[in-house]
Symmetry: C2
Subunit: 362 residues, 2 copies
């Protein structure tokens, strides 16, 4: 991985020079992890076109040495990371104009730049590192593949344990244990387990609701491996489905299939969204697909690119995205089927393999 990280620093360095900034102050922890390998919860990084300097606190002294190696100069700061930053900058007289991450710096900390950091010039920047992260390299794709395998294996283990009469929280607990048994580092987000009418709420969490016969059971969850995330949704039926449940399920399944097999680097996020949306609209359920088709996936479970009606940027080769069409009918229920897809040079590669047929849970 160290060589990949050197490539990333070189790519970032070129961007700093293009932006005519001497350095970039990084405050986003996923961006810091991407560049340095450090996975702790407390760090500032100063990137110049050729060097990385990382400041963290004593709690991470051992961890930062293991993770970062010689990729960055590391400073362990006893007082405050900001104190360390000012001291470090004073020893780097060639640095005058410094970019900062506008989307990852709180106003309170921006005030520090203006006050304690008033001898430097500060320029807000957006997406300098996020843009690099959008196209995944082979190592990153391999980690997402493993995170996907952990997730689908955990779902396979969970399915036989689910039965009518359990609460959604209990189902979430079985799944969370299976994720750990399969080796997931931690959950990228708390699993959604939504039964019956709650399956119509795209952002339901697990609740104390008891799962009942004849209902949909929607499970949306992920795993994490080497810091990289997977994100998978399957919808099951408790017992035998009604014809209407079968019909709506089949529309979502086919929309997922069409989009996951037709999406390509070079098309816009809006065009990708349209692959599934136009099919669902033709089936008469356009109004019931009330969110966008998907989002990028990597060190964060939501990152660039977006697959949405308003996403005019072209998708880049190497991106990994979710494909997650759904149909939601308030009070009745909903279906969502979500897979992770790598936009490889050879076309879309589906990274999450688990049956997409309507499974009847006994």
């Amino acid at each position: 991985m160290a060589d990949r990280r050197r490539d990333r620093l070189a790519a970032l360095g070129a961007r700093l020079q293009a932006e005519k900034i001497d350095a970039l102050l990084l405050t986003s922890l996923p961006n810091i992890r991407y560049l340095t390998g450090f996975s702790g919860s407390s760090a500032l990084v100063l990137a110049t076109p050729s060097e990385l300097r990382l400041i963290t606190d004593f709690r991470y002294e051992t961890q930062v040495a293991d993770e970062v190696g010689d990729l960055a100069q590391v400073r362990i700061e006893p007082v405050s990371l900001w104190t360390g930053l000012w001291d470090m900058l004073q020893k780097l007289p060639s640095i005058e104009m410094i970019g900062f991450e506008s989307a990852h710096l709180l106003h309170r900390d921006f005030q520090r730049l203006l006050n304690d950091g008033s001898r430097w010039q500060w320029r807000p920047q957006l997406n300098l590192v996020e843009d690099l992260r959008e196209a995944k390299d082979e190592d990153e794709v391999a980690l997402i593949v493993e995170a996907g395998t952990i997730a689908t294996n955990a779902l396979s283990r969970t399915l036989p344990a689910i039965h009518v009469g359990m609460t959604e929280l209990e189902v979430a607990g079985v799944l969370e244990k299976a994720l750990r048994d399969e080796g997931s580092e931690e959950a990228p987000f708390p699993p959604i387990v939504a039964s019956g009418p709650r399956s119509a709420l795209p952002h339901a969490r697990a609740s104390s609701r008891v799962v009942q016969s004849g209902e949909f059971l929607l499970i949306d969850f992920g795993a994490q491996h080497g810091g990289y995330c997977s994100d998978v949704t399957r919808t099951f039926v408790m017992g035998e489905p009604t014809p209407e449940q079968r019909d709506i399920f089949a529309i979502v399944r086919d929309a997922n299939h069409i989009a996951a097999h037709s999406i390509k680097a070079g098309m816009t996020g809006a065009a990708a969204d349209g692959l599934a949306r136009s099919y669902i609209e033709r089936c008469g359920y356009g109004e019931a697909f009330g969110h966008s088709l998907g989002h990028g996936l990597g060190l964060e479970v939501h990152e660039a690119p977006r697959l949405a009606r308003t996403a005019e940027a072209a998708l880049r080769a190497g991106s990994v995205v979710t494909i997650e069409p759904g149909i939601y009918r308030p009070g009745w229920g909903g279906v969502r089927i979500e897979d992770d897809v790598h936009l490889s040079a050879n076309g879309p590669q589906i990274l999450t393999n688990f049956s997409r047929e309507l499974i009847e849970v006994a």
Copy 2:
């Protein structure tokens, strides 16, 4: 709860008037939940001295009605929450000076205030709502008590399943399932399961390390109930402890006992920290207690007040804090014992009940 929330709005209104601001723009989700009851992940709130206005998106239409009731005027915004804010403000001509949450507003969004919101005056504010949250009311304490009971019950269920040869991740999985079975909404943070030398890392996560005989096993985790968190740590020994393990465990246990029974509203956070620290220092392990004694607990797992050497503010009656002394010896292992304590008018009430003796896990 609705009456409590009305009391909170009244208290906030008095603070707005004292600060001479016409309104406060809330961007912190825990602060929004505290004032309105809304638990979704997307919202802006505008508070005037007498009214709350909440803007969220279509995904939360049902949920926001259930949670907020008539406590706030709710606006469902199809485009962007910020668009909704500008439109709403234009209809409120008496509002000129608006405070914003400096510690909860990203620089990118601060730029929106200066650009799209240039016809209003904006003033950074710190801790207006956090200060109210510091002293818990009875309803809040009851929720934290329940979150504590869920956590300790889950640990009781987990303990018989732990054995030498499991990985830390597997132990975390058993615990996470038990938390769900006990009804925890979600984990306030991913459980720390740290065995052997890893128990000396105060911020270890669970890893794939196999738990071995004779080692310490440190478990630091929490539960959530009604949005409120608990935070508990126990350290076990795998098999029979050495005399040194017994000695160090006893020092930490006694430091926990001294602090949890002696802490009081009115003393400073530094004095509270000193209750445990001075004891550990007298035992010769001062250098090995490398973090602060504890932190406030509520809707967030880390909130005001701090119990730390640098915390000069007096602790307020009604606060709920963690008491978590530890001794860490790099390469050898560490012990931490953590409970949640309510600083009631009648003195400290310990909310998390689970044995503090050294349990030998078979």
